[in-house]
Symmetry: none
Subunit: 207 residues, 4 copies
Amino acid sequence: MPKTNGYITKENILKISEKLFSEKGYDGTSVDEIANLCKINKATVYYHFKSKEQILNSVMHSILDEAKKIVNISIDEMHNNSDVKSIRSYIEALINFMTNKKKLVSIIIMESLKSKNKLDLLFKCADLIIDHENDGVYQKLNKHDEFPFNNKNEYLVYEFFTGFIPIIMYIVLEDKWSEYYNCKKEKMIEYFIEAFERSHMSVHKEK
Amino acid sequence: MPKTNGYITKENILKISEKLFSEKGYDGTSVDEIANLCKINKATVYYHFKSKEQILNSVMHSILDEAKKIVNISIDEMHNNSDVKSIRSYIEALINFMTNKKKLVSIIIMESLKSKNKLDLLFKCADLIIDHENDGVYQKLNKHDEFPFNNKNEYLVYEFFTGFIPIIMYIVLEDKWSEYYNCKKEKMIEYFIEAFERSHMSVHKEK
Amino acid sequence: MPKTNGYITKENILKISEKLFSEKGYDGTSVDEIANLCKINKATVYYHFKSKEQILNSVMHSILDEAKKIVNISIDEMHNNSDVKSIRSYIEALINFMTNKKKLVSIIIMESLKSKNKLDLLFKCADLIIDHENDGVYQKLNKHDEFPFNNKNEYLVYEFFTGFIPIIMYIVLEDKWSEYYNCKKEKMIEYFIEAFERSHMSVHKEK
Amino acid sequence: MPKTNGYITKENILKISEKLFSEKGYDGTSVDEIANLCKINKATVYYHFKSKEQILNSVMHSILDEAKKIVNISIDEMHNNSDVKSIRSYIEALINFMTNKKKLVSIIIMESLKSKNKLDLLFKCADLIIDHENDGVYQKLNKHDEFPFNNKNEYLVYEFFTGFIPIIMYIVLEDKWSEYYNCKKEKMIEYFIEAFERSHMSVHKEK
DNA sequence: AATGAATGAGCCTTCATTCAT
DNA sequence: CATGAATGAAGGCTCATTCAT
């Protein structure tokens, strides 16, 4: 029996899909499952979304929006506190947020690796993080320093491959890593933050 | 009645599978396709391999073996030539090798991100590289330096997330990155090597 | 709240449906498509028509009405001019009219061939044409001739299967025939009229 | 449980499909139904045939082959008997054979009317009948007469639209016609043969 | 060593139709 | 008069896997 608010239904599909995609991946989740968990008819899913892929798309973009808010808040919080400590807490905030969306981050990465895929969501996420880092944290840190990069792309390569990538890969591989190398997660995150500061942040730090 | 030597058939399945997995990913390749391209019956595939996943497994391991050889050769070359330049050339050699296997590296990463996956191939690859770096290059370079890590895991986290990961992610994302950010690949590799030295290698360098 | 005059909406549905049925056939057209092209809601279609089949029905009947007008006009024109030449021009007029509705004629035929179909539209169309021919042209021509048929059904079988059917089948198959047998359409229509006179009309002609 | 002779299975699919297509039309028959009636798995159907359309194709072509045999036999039988009587029996034989395949003839016609369809089966059937008529019956009849057609296409248009078409349309519409016009079928076939001779055959008859 | 045949489970999608508003 | 939302029922097809030979 239908006739509730369609917006609610749509949001619910999104919510359940995010949950299922997170738990079982995109390919591992069937539209039947989504419909069943939503307690709606499968056709209703297709009334609200053109295709399964479009659901994924919507899920991803709503996460991106959520991420933006989190990042903004973190940035605001450390506005007057651009020391090493607050950077550490910014990174930790990022890791915390993403850790909750771990599986979806995996999906973003996996989809980005498929050769045919044109979603570019990984880069959009990166833009979000790096641009903020750029305008918020980074600028502060380097205000008085010599800027070590000659152009935007050189800078972006640095931020993306030595900053953004290690962080998200840490998030998605943390569990497996700690199991494989037999290392407690509390230790790991400590090591990682340390490693991140030693490598990527060495450029950002005041000498 | 056996038509040919079974060993040849098996090797052929592996070869074709590597090709197909590389082009279309694991999920995107069907056993039918493998059999067709091998010009053998689908059941023959299952005579040689217990499951599709086992094919993937074999493909992965044969790549690992190949990688080992390459790494060994590179290491040997560096033996008498362990200055910064040769580290650069080592990294370049690594990137070159992996670039040829780009799609398979993608598969290794993608498979590693799947929650159910128990292969740990990504970690095995990492072990291979890092151990070699550890025993071969690194030890040499740091023989007389203060070793900045307190224990093996701290060291491994560093090597894995700020060394290995950036390199392999660079390899698999290079094309898409250069397209998305409109940056020539020749420039990119230059920026990347520079970035890698600035971040990860900063620890390895002699001060 | 009513947006427009309901009558207009209904007529529009009919118009669009005729167009779509013509282009893609009845089965090939979905109610969604009709609604979309009408820029109305799908449920609105069902407000005006009980079912998709009823739309088809209405479309068919409105064509029948149109056909009646055309036939009447043609008949009138022939009234004072009932020689062989004008019969030819009558047939040509018929073909011309129907050629414009080619696809709908196809639909009528296709629907008539479906076993469950109870519309009998094909027969109704035939009645229309044959009756007119009967009352108008034929009677005139055969007023003084020996009538070659012993009863109404014998006459109807003759008119239907050797007169009406060849004409409508010519109309709907003309394009494909000319392509398959590599024959120009201008030639074809000439051959067909000739063939029609040789066969069907041989009975109607004055000896 | 599998492992019978694959050829038998394939033939069975064809047999059941012919039956179902005949009873319910192409669109009205689902692959599920075919599989169920064959008591095999749906996937087995797809093992033997690439698609549902390919099944139709095969069914049609096997009918065409069957038809060829029938036609050949009829032709042989009247080899030395080219009088009106034997022509009548040839037409009756044709009608008899096709009447058994009534629904399939409908399908051929319907498929031929679909604008996108490229099957051309209707024309192939026509070729079969007309060519035989040409080489067998027709030649005999006109041996000594003046040939009334100036070229092959003119002749084909005549045979196709005033000979072949009336016959097949009679076959597929017989039931509905007799019901609509309230006419017994025994009478109808008599009227039809008579009508056919009066119109189409008038050209073939010796004057 | 190799194969033809078969299968079960599942997948995404479409469609005509209905109902509360 | 018109609509947004929802549905049940199918439908065509794919895929990894198995078994008898």
